[in-house]
Symmetry: C2
Subunit: 373 residues, 2 copies
């Protein structure tokens, strides 16, 4: 016994040549059969046997070898700024699914502000692990945007536009604001405030623009806008500013679900009730909305489609087409829960004019006992 049993010397993967040997052809034939090379002519019988053996052996091409041979990696990288934010989980899922339909894998990387971002790009793109790049919610000061290295790889920007890039994949944000405003207007609200986001962020501006346009169109004063960060704290601050500064305010539209959570706090801390005194609508419909108190009326956005569209766009670039901006056509929808109602008249607007009948809320709409005050 000179040779002790080695632990794991053989990877034991089936290789092209294993199939070739078993079928009795060369590996080039196997490769071309499995890849449907149209320039190859083989007997149907041989073709069938190759497929059968590949199946039986569980063959899968070595991604590295394939990439090395000049073909594609068949992988895309998706850079996400914050995996703790559930918005992205839907975009990711949409991207995954579409990628799979095209035989691609999506490699996810968190692209936080700190130095980790420096690494994700070189480790994935420059190490040749991926063919293309999806960048979600790029910050305007993202160092990658200025880098010439970025331009050498097909890429798109998802969920936050980079103006002038011609590679933006987005949704109709103004339409989302209009949907929210029109819903509130239909309920009878006239003074509506917008809890907006940081002015330097394009989506914040787009939602604000849509808000202003929709308000004007309905003949309402679009002046009630306050800004804060996209998180709970920002929402609380902006909501407080609006509730204190805008007289007769009966409804708030927030730019993120996080802001909505802060808004709920702010409203209550001022001793007001939701939706009795103030209705609240939030952009983005996520599972959390169901479990807030009260369950939150939201604007549902096509996030799955957004992820899918981003994959489509980058695959088009891989196919040789020039990059182009894309807007997902699906329209925002109102997901009505219990944070919106007709204005009861926080002050003099006590009279109830007729409005559209309230549609059935999602979830159990058990009657909630109202404690006397």
């Amino acid at each position: 016994m000179i040779d002790p049993p080695v632990p794991t010397p053989r990877p034991e993967r089936a290789r092209l040549i294993d199939i070739a040997r078993e079928v009795g052809v060369t590996k080039s034939v196997v490769s071309r059969v499995l890849n449907d090379d149209p320039t190859l002519t083989v007997r149907p019988e041989t073709r069938r046997r190759i497929w059968a053996v590949a199946q039986r052996l569980g063959y899968r091409a070595h991604a590295g070898a394939r990439a090395l041979a000049g073909a594609e990696t068949r992988a895309l990288a998706l850079l996400i700024p914050d995996l703790g934010n559930p918005v992205y989980s839907r975009i990711i899922r949409g991207a995954y699914r579409r990628a799979r339909e095209h035989g691609y894998v999506v490699l996810l990387a968190e692209d936080t502000t700190d130095d980790a971002a420096d690494e994700a790009f070189p480790e994935l793109v420059e190490a040749g692990r991926v063919d293309g790049l999806l960048i979600a919610s790029a910050r305007p000061d993202h160092q990658l945007l200025a880098s010439p290295r970025l331009s050498r790889v097909p890429h798109v920007f998802v969920n936050r536009e980079v103006p002038g890039s011609g590679r933006n994949v987005g949704m109709d944000l103004p339409a989302a604001s209009a949907t929210a405003v029109r819903h509130l207007h239909a309920l009878g609200h006239r003074r509506i405030g917008l809890v907006s986001g940081p002015e330097e962020l394009q989506p914040a501006r787009a939602r604000a623009a849509g808000f202003v346009a929709a308000m004007r169109e309905l003949g309402l004063d679009p002046g009630g806008i306050a800004r804060g960060s996209f998180d709970e704290r920002g929402g609380a601050g902006a909501a407080q500013e609006l509730l204190r500064g805008v007289p007769d305010l009966t409804a708030l539209y927030t730019s993120t679900l996080g802001q909505a959570v802060g808004t709920l706090h702010a409203v209550r801390s001022l001793g007001l009730r939701i939706p009795d005194d103030v209705s609240v609508v939030a952009y983005d419909d996520l599972p959390l909305a169901d479990h807030l108190d009260p369950p939150l009326t939201t604007i549902g956005m096509p996030l799955l489609e957004l992820g899918a569209a981003a994959v489509d766009a980058v695959l088009r670039q891989l196919g040789g087409e020039p990059p182009a901006d894309v807007v997902v056509p699906t329209r925002p929808v109102v997901v009505e829960r219990r944070s919106t109602a007709r204005p009861a008249g926080r002050q003099e607007v006590a009279g109830g004019e007729p409005g559209p009948p309230r549609s059935a809320a999602t979830g159990r709409s058990r009657a909630r006992p109202r404690p006397p005050r």
Copy 2:
């Protein structure tokens, strides 16, 4: 002009041979210098120049070529069951960081129940994209667990044990329960209920076992346990069951933050106040806890360390060590917010016996006006 300008024929990556040519050596020398091959002897001057040129050209080895040449991919895959759950985002972050410290990349894949799971494994492991695998919260019926293909790649189970695998990386769950129980006991609670998870899930059992042990140790009756799924709905159901079935109950400990959200709903829907009538403590400290109403007292777990430990464990396997179970040593801590207080006496327990002074809450611990009753 026979040859029109081709779009992007040259990847324009710097290769080993580019460096070699510029320095005036062969690529084998460059490779060995950059990889610190101890069997190589070179003049310090040559070594220096190689590094300098590599730096200047922004050289990065092609991952595929490296993997093909028998070396490692320097990538690990992390399978996550649900990217919408923020618990995982912390584990992921911990794993990323530790991996980077060792020069590895983490490729993330969502491993949902549906067919997508079938693809993640072959696409990442069998395509040779990764050297090892971290599997988070494997369900006991996960088809991968039975597959012999899994045993051929180094892997660990994170956050949910697979009994007998000898590859579990976990935290001290019983200690978490004990921490919660002791905290509530110190506040004066005597009847404490556990909102537990599905019995077939190992973490649910571990938390329940720790709960029972801690209760017994304090001479309390550990009988108040109800089960539900780990989400909001399960928490609401189990909490309701406990609040209705267990007399004199003054505190609830929930097994997840999601269950806590459901529990808050259930408590309120029975007309009880938090923390005045019922205190609530949740397992897992996440940002959301700060923004619930009231902000939730939680048991903070070492999730970053868990992710890091999982990476360490799989890297040890790559280094040739046999797999072994790991328990992250960091102890759970109480993150006190406003969902816990001394029991006011939901019924006859009205008298206030002295207890330990309330520690300072994280965040603003603004005095909370208690409305008269």
